[in-house]
Symmetry: C2
């Protein structure tokens, strides 16, 4: 459609929802919805978050601004094609709605994105899921406004253009990615995160950390070939804006992460974790993530019999943040030579006392392992039930995430991933 | 309308346009407009920028995406109520348009905001101008999408919710401020800034610097009383996000400002100035500015016979950035005791070698004066034609900017402003 000059990429893009941050901000959503012209909204949450009373309170507060709200606890923790289909069906039956509000973690926010998409655009879920799993169709029309209210400090789903889901029949985690899925407003109220159990704070916090670290070490936008505007994707590689968010997120985590896990009632630590989650989301939502996130898909998707503390116990699961974290130390040992100074700087953002020894590539893995052990994460993928016989399957699953691996700072082959998984079976024992 | 808890403010807000940054980005606007559903757009520019050919090129590139573009060189450098009325009249006659594109400095971007407002909402300009000068009415409907393409590295108008103008009959600079005026997309192409003459780079660069410095030192959002949502304004005081943008803008200026003035063909310095302008705009567009900007209104508005290099010579003017800069050193000497550590940190962001001597309050003014002298700014308000007899009038004009002075880190009285103006008649000679 347009002439593209030869040569390296010279342009980066940046998009973000508007933000309202602070204790009490979730009481004001009715006003914000009224500015968006909304009258009747669907509040999407999951049963666990619904039990805290937060979604009902958010909905009840809207009535002062003339907003009618219906609450559906229709999100499944780690959404699946089946859970989303059910949520969409319930929403269609209760509609029409002129805006959506998601109250919960990434699962609720991602479910709301899919519900919004399928209530405002024709077709069904698999039409929009990324190729090769789905047809990868782009939404033809803008979605209705989506306000995201995160209650876990982790996913950054409030800032991003993606919806992650499991396709049960194929035993694969995949997603829908389009700029029209981005929420228009993120309302981050640290008070809503106070009820997160320590295990959730730890796993979700590692998701924050890896968002920041993977964006910070991502392939720079200038290392790609120049794109035509219609070829641009929301994840454009490391750039001066994503770098800034990532660095600041890591510095906040350095001060608050251990405290927030140890003492969930520490309001300052909770506030800093909420801010770090938002900052990291604004960074990776524009730069992208790479190996640890690609590896997390099969680690979570092929779970056998792991039941983490703080999560629903009815089904085995590896929480997303934990799945991301478990190969991160070895992934960053492997990426070290792509940008040594960035890896060393990141280690110091996370631990200002960190000093490289004889093997500088070991510094960041050491800082990560110290943290993971302190906050009670399992010791490697072995700790969630995988052994050497699983590695081929895990590698196959990670290789399906080419959209993510495209942001890796160096080319990734199957044997690179196999070595990372192998070294991640046990991390510190 | 809503119950507001007692006590200090706990919530801050953050809004920003989407951003496309880099050499060549201005060739892609047709694609971005097509995503916004636009078919027929008005490109607003001023005669000086039009003469560079950039607006025609931007318009011509849109046709590949099926966009019909009309170019109006209807913006006046430093817009007035009369110039905006003429621009609106021309736009109404040539309309309808379903989107607007501003190519130019703050004058073109602000003119486009006003044209967009008055082509999409009922009433006339003075209905929307801030009280007490105008009626301060809020736009009832969303505006049409506005894409801002800055060609000077300074105003940050591409990020903000405000339109600044002179009301000729009252000899006062005022504005329109509403969240609906914010452009939806900023396209920052450093190549468009290469033609800025050194005098424009210097003045506009001081505007960047003062945006960053005034936001950085602004009254913190937590120091206000808790607001109801309908009382919130886009400029909510210093907050963790505006701090981050401001700090990064100052660090970029530290490396690039003198070079960009001395050698306008240095692409790295131009790129860093463009990035600094954007970053500072994203900061002050949410935190606010205070004394130097308040003082700039009467300094520019009451100009007698000053004709700066690099600007149109047909009318006397003090360019906005220059007007802001001339009282900045003394304003920051006066605000020092509100947050000494912030003032010292800012001095070091701007000059990493700066060391406080016996009088720490003098450090930041010294760093600013050294810079201003190096880049050829006039020596104080005396250098643009004011003397002691003008001070009462200047103070009266600054006091009219209560919207800005509300962000000052300490209460401002008339005699405080008089002392700042007095000490700013000569800064270094």
């Amino acid at each position: 459609m347009s002439h593209v000059p030869d040569g390296p990429e010279s342009v980066f893009t940046y998009g973000a929802p508007a933000l309202k941050f602070g204790p009490g901000s979730s009481d004001e959503i009715g006003f914000d919805l009224s500015l968006l012209g909304a009258r009747r909204v669907l509040v999407v949450t999951d049963p666990g978050v619904a039990a805290t009373g937060a979604p009902d309170r958010v909905a009840e507060r809207m009535t002062a601004y003339g907003i009618e709200a219906v609450v559906h606890d229709s999100a499944h923790v780690e959404p699946t094609d089946a859970s989303i289909a059910t949520a969409v069906e319930r929403a269609r039956a209760a509609g029409p709605f002129d805006a959506f509000v998601a109250v919960g973690g990434g699962s609720a926010i991602d479910t709301a994105k899919a519900v919004d998409l399928l209530l405002t655009n024709p077709g069904e879920l698999m039409d929009y899921v990324n190729v090769p799993v789905g047809a990868g169709r782009a939404p033809a029309s803008p979605l209705a406004p989506l306000v995201a209210v995160p209650t876990t400090t982790g996913t950054g789903a409030e800032s991003t253009t993606i919806c992650v889901l499991d396709v049960l029949s194929l035993q694969v985690k995949t997603g829908i990615s389009h700029v029209r899925l981005r929420p228009v407003l993120a309302v981050v109220d640290p008070r809503l995160t106070m009820t997160q159990p320590p295990g959730v704070t730890a796993s979700a916090g590692m998701d924050i950390l890896c968002h920041a670290l993977e964006s910070w070490t991502a392939r720079p936008y200038t290392s790609y070939e120049r794109k035509a505007p219609e070829q641009r994707v929301p994840y454009c590689g490391a750039n001066p804006i994503s770098d800034m968010w990532s660095e600041r997120a890591m510095r906040l985590l350095s001060g608050a992460f251990r405290t927030a896990v140890r003492d969930g009632s520490d309001e300052t630590a909770r506030g800093d974790m909420a801010l770090a989650a938002t900052f990291a989301g604004l960074g990776f939502g524009n730069a992208g993530v790479h190996v640890p996130h690609a590896n997390a898909y099969p680690i979570a998707g092929r779970v056998k019999d792991f039941h983490p503390e703080g999560y629903p116990q009815d089904e085995p699961m590896v929480p997303h943040g934990m799945a991301v974290a478990l190969t991160a130390p070895e992934a960053f040992r492997w990426t070290f030579d792509a940008s040594p100074e960035r890896h060393l700087a990141a280690a110091r953002f996370l631990d200002p006392t960190a000093e490289p020894g004889a093997d500088p590539a070991a510094l960041l893995p050491r800082v990560l392992c110290d943290l993971m052990r302190d906050i009670g994460l399992p010791d490697g993928i072995g700790g969630v039930g995988y052994d050497a016989s699983d590695i081929d399957g895990l590698v196959d699953g990670a290789l399906k995430q080419q959209r993510l691996l495209a942001t890796c700072p160096k080319p990734v082959r199957a044997d690179d991933l196999a070595a990372i998984f192998e070294r991640s079976i046990r991390l510190w024992e």
